[in-house]
């Protein structure tokens, strides 16, 4: 079907992997209901082993669901894979595509032909994408001579060569340097904004990436969607107490006594690696309490170098929902899931 169907729709989608023994079976996705609209950049946040890549593999027809249904552009991934494949593409971060013996431009042309893109159009798109990914100067360089970051940027460009209706970006900036990541994010944001009814499903464990790019974000862990909303609404969900970040000089007395200030709920600290200044994170009952804290520091003769109130981030939301940080290890037992 159809240009009006949702980009992605799953109903009670479950995927299990058999283990050597029955008790070793792993449920990578557990009854996932998801709807991604046309023209939307949708983020899927979760730690390793959460089920993100399994979901992407099902949606890109590389894996069959165990139960439930998944439709992409209105087509069932299990029974109409060809229709799905005509409309999608995928970029897996950390991977490179193509053959070392081919040049950058030849690689893009190869993958364009696999989607039936005519030669002149393939050349036009290749030129545009090479410009955007800052690979134009390397267009005639063999892949074997490219750096890892350049290969990843090429892989990213490859994904857009077919001008898909829906693109799946699986950790697209994994391993890229800051500048390249910014380029990639800017391009993805522009692509979905400027082209009608194009959609992105992005998996990432970089909170900033999801926050910056995605209109809506789902937080997934152990195969279940725990929360789904706009980043703003998700942050509002977190009824956290005000948190202030202070940078203080090393002079003066000990600041341990700050914990005893009435209204201080918690206090953590670490030394700034470059300046040696102490960074304090102080959670308080209400904003006014920070005045007490500053007064106590003044009494101690400790200079306050910087003060800022920290807003809740997606990370805060994530930690509250999942009970651990994104970079923490996956739960034992799901590591071995092949999906």
């Amino acid at each position: 079907m159809t240009g009006t169907a949702p980009a992605v729709q799953t109903e009670r989608l479950t995927r299990s992997f058999r283990g050597r023994r029955k008790e070793h079976a792993v449920t990578a996705l557990d009854g996932v209901d998801l709807r991604v609209e046309r023209g939307e950049c949708f983020g899927l946040l979760g730690p390793n082993g959460a089920g993100k890549t399994t979901l992407i593999k099902i949606l890109t027809t590389l894996l069959l669901p165990t139960t439930g249904t998944a439709r992409v552009a209105g087509f069932d991934v299990a029974t109409e894979p060809l229709q799905v494949r005509r409309r999608i593409n995928m970029v897996s971060g950390g991977d490179s595509s193509g053959y070392g013996i081919l040049t950058v431009r030849e690689t893009l042309h190869l993958f364009a032909r696999l989607y039936g893109v005519p030669g002149p159009e393939a050349r036009r798109r290749a030129d545009e994408l090479l410009e955007i990914t800052r690979l134009a100067e390397k267009a005639d360089t063999r892949l074997s001579s490219l750096s890892t970051g350049m290969k990843q940027k090429l892989n990213f460009a490859r994904g857009f060569m077919s001008d898909p209706e829906i693109i799946f970006l699986d950790e697209p900036t994994l391993g890229l340097d800051v500048e390249a990541s910014r380029d990639v994010r800017a391009f993805a944001a522009g692509w979905v904004r400027e082209r009608e009814a194009r959609s992105i499903l992005l998996t990432t464990h970089y909170m900033v990436e999801a926050d910056e790019l995605c209109g809506r974000v789902a937080i997934i862990d152990r195969g279940k969607i725990l929360a789904l909303d706009t980043p703003r609404a998700l942050k509002r969900m977190v009824s956290s107490e005000p948190v202030f970040e202070l940078s203080i000089g090393t002079g003066g007395g000990t600041w341990d006594g700050l914990r005893e200030v009435r209204g201080v709920r918690s206090l953590s600290h670490h030394a700034h690696p470059a300046t040696g200044a102490i960074q304090l994170k102080v959670a308080v009952d209400e904003d006014q309490v920070i005045g007490e804290v500053l007064g106590r520091l003044r009494d101690l003769g400790t200079p306050v170098l910087h003060l800022a109130k920290s807003e809740p981030t997606l990370e805060t939301v994530f930690v509250q929902l999942v009970g651990r940080g994104l970079d923490d290890d996956a739960v034992a037992g799901t590591d071995g899931a092949p999906g």
């Binding site: 990578a28 890109t60 595509s97 030849e106 042309h109 993958f111 696999l114 092949p338």
Partner: protein
């Protein structure tokens, strides 16, 4: 109708694009010219010199040259085509092919055509070298029917390669070890360096499921008649090759679809986990 035409156009484009990778690769890799042409010629020369040392009839030297040329195609389907999906999977690239809307057969056909172009240069060096260096007899007036049989043989051999490719797709390393294990027995059974009839009726009959053995037997018979010591009657050989070609193509199509489906069920088409 338009959809059908569009799919055909897309698949033909993909065949050309994938074949081009092979051709470009072979011409850009200078070491390939030595490794794939000069060295095999030396290996073939060793067998010619053995026959010459034994004072065998000159026709045996021609057997060796033809076998040396054909062995290149067998090695190509085994190591460069059948195993290709396995290597693509190891490099994390197979998924990029599998999510495209083109037929898996088109990808393999592209690899096959590129491989044929690349391997033909090796075969030509061996054949030309055999004629010029060792002066083997080559009846040019029978070259055309021999070439026709050669094309039929290639069709059947590469169709078998597509079946093997689906096995490699699922059982990667195990299939690799098995192929290595059977390499020499298949070289023997195919009669690359001697007439397959020398194996005896039972072994030669079993070898006839290998299109390369049937084709080589036929090409030798076309070129050298009775002196070729053929096993199957020559008039049967095109029929057998066409039957093998049709059977292998059908099985390859089914096998690729089956293996892909099994891979999707078991999660064995890609490496990266979540």
């Amino acid at each position: 109708m338009n959809g059908w035409r569009e799919r055909l156009r897309m698949n033909l484009g993909a065949i050309g694009a994938r074949a081009r990778v092979r051709v470009v690769a072979s011409w850009r890799e200078r070491s390939w010219i030595v490794g794939e042409t000069i060295f095999p010629f030396l290996a073939m020369s060793a067998f010619v010199l053995v026959y010459r040392g034994l004072k065998a009839p000159r026709i045996y030297e021609a057997f060796v040259v033809l076998g040396g040329a054909m062995i290149a195609y067998w090695n190509n389907i085994l190591w460069s085509m059948a195993s290709q999906f396995f290597w693509e999977k190891e490099q994390g690239q197979l998924q990029l092919y599998l999510i495209t809307p083109i037929s898996r057969m088109a990808i393999l056909l592209g690899m096959a055509l590129g491989g044929i172009a690349m391997t033909t240069s090796r075969a030509v060096v061996i054949l030309t070298g055999g004629i010029l260096v060792f002066g083997i007899p080559f009846p040019w007036d029978r070259a055309l029917p021999a070439f026709g049989l050669f094309l039929l043989t290639l069709g059947a051999v590469y169709s078998l390669g597509m079946i093997l490719s689906s096995l490699f797709l699922m059982w990667g390393r195990e299939a690799w070890y098995t192929a290595t294990l059977f390499q020499e027995p298949i070289h023997l059974a195919s009669g690359f360096y001697f007439p397959v009839r020398a194996l005896g009726t039972v072994a030669a009959s079993l070898a006839s499921i290998l299109p390369i053995a049937v084709g080589l037997d036929g090409i030798r018979q076309v070129l050298y008649g009775e002196a070729a010591h053929g096993f199957l009657p020559l008039r049967w050989i095109p029929v057998v090759l066409v039957a093998l070609l049709a059977l292998f193509l059908f099985l390859a199509h089914r096998s690729l679809a089956f293996m892909e489906n099994m891979g999707k069920r078991e999660g064995r088409l890609t490496l990266r986990g979540d």
